[in-house]
Symmetry: C2
Subunit: 192 residues, 2 copies
């Protein structure tokens, strides 16, 4: 802490924030490029250009590093709601596809899903990450369906994107996204 | 081959079939219990109780072992169609959930999805495995929707199950499956 507080040019918070950003960015890089097992304190420190001591000081356990990297990654761009349900659902699903394309969200999710089976802490990280990612979609739908119907509608929307990306190897085209949303809306309508 | 043909008590085919079954079963066990990287000729031979030479003789490359294990695993039980679309879609999605619960299909798919990004041969295995698994669902829907609408309906049905299993950590309940199917049917109806 002395080394940090002696640098009076820059506020402490900014330095810590930068350290966090660099190290958690390195965690996500290592995870995507080399896989789950490569995320170790020494390797992350090397990739980020910090000392092992710094990494250990901020994140004593390996799972803390991974948890915080996902918390930071969860802060992605969502669609800005317009108030028109169809447009907003289509916009949110397209935003979901963009994060997959631009930030490899599909690989990140595949890694979480694969490890969640054997590491309970990873299941918790996945659950929080997925709940946070689905929140805007769920809120859009919650005005129109409730309970298990809300759950089904959310799963159908998210599932079309995730299943296409993870199991077919590509995000769905705009036509597919629009048909998915129109189907969900037809389901809502038929239940009125 | 001499050792095999000298055993006149048992037809050659039955012995080869048993060897295949044992070794490919071991591949799937190792994959599920220890992960993708643990699937090596020596380790699979040890787990299956055969010599390394036998495993190499049948499957010269590691990817051949994995490909054949998935081809064997793909031969799972599907729903027996009754001719009623709603019942058959619900039956097929419930059968899908049963394979996840009984045979860890979700873990198998997570492993494939995770590795498909870095190993092109795994992407091919996944694509074939997923296409084969989705075939009955796609055939049920193909009498009622075509083109991108068929693709969207297939993705919504499969996606509800896969997204729930991989991202929420459990297969969806029967209510959710029925709402999903009713939504897809409402979408088909609204497009007539």
């Amino acid at each position: 802490m002395d080394a940090i507080s002696s640098n009076l040019e820059q506020p402490i918070d900014a330095r810590i924030l930068r350290t966090h950003r660099d190290i958690l960015g390195a965690v996500m890089h290592v995870l995507l490029d080399e896989g789950f097992d490569a995320v170790t304190h020494p390797h992350v420190a090397r990739v980020a250009g910090y000392s092992k001591a710094t990494v250990y000081a901020h994140w004593p356990e390996r799972i803390d590093l991974i948890r915080d990297a996902f918390a930071r990654f969860a802060d992605v761009t969502h669609h800005q709601p317009t108030g028109t349900l169809r447009d907003d659902l289509i916009g949110e699903l397209k935003a979901f596809c963009s994060v997959i394309t631009d930030h490899h969200l599909d690989r990140v999710l595949a890694i979480l899903a694969e490890r969640a089976h054997s590491v309970p802490e990873v299941a918790e990280i996945r659950d929080r990450f997925v709940a946070e990612g689905e929140r805007p979609l769920r809120e859009l739908l919650a005005g129109h369906v409730r309970g298990d119907r809300l759950e089904a509608a959310t799963l159908m929307c998210s599932g079309t994107i995730i299943h296409s990306a993870l199991m077919h190897g590509h995000t769905p085209g705009n036509n597919i996204i629009e048909y998915t949303v129109d189907t969900v809306l037809a389901g809502i309508e038929s239940n009125r």
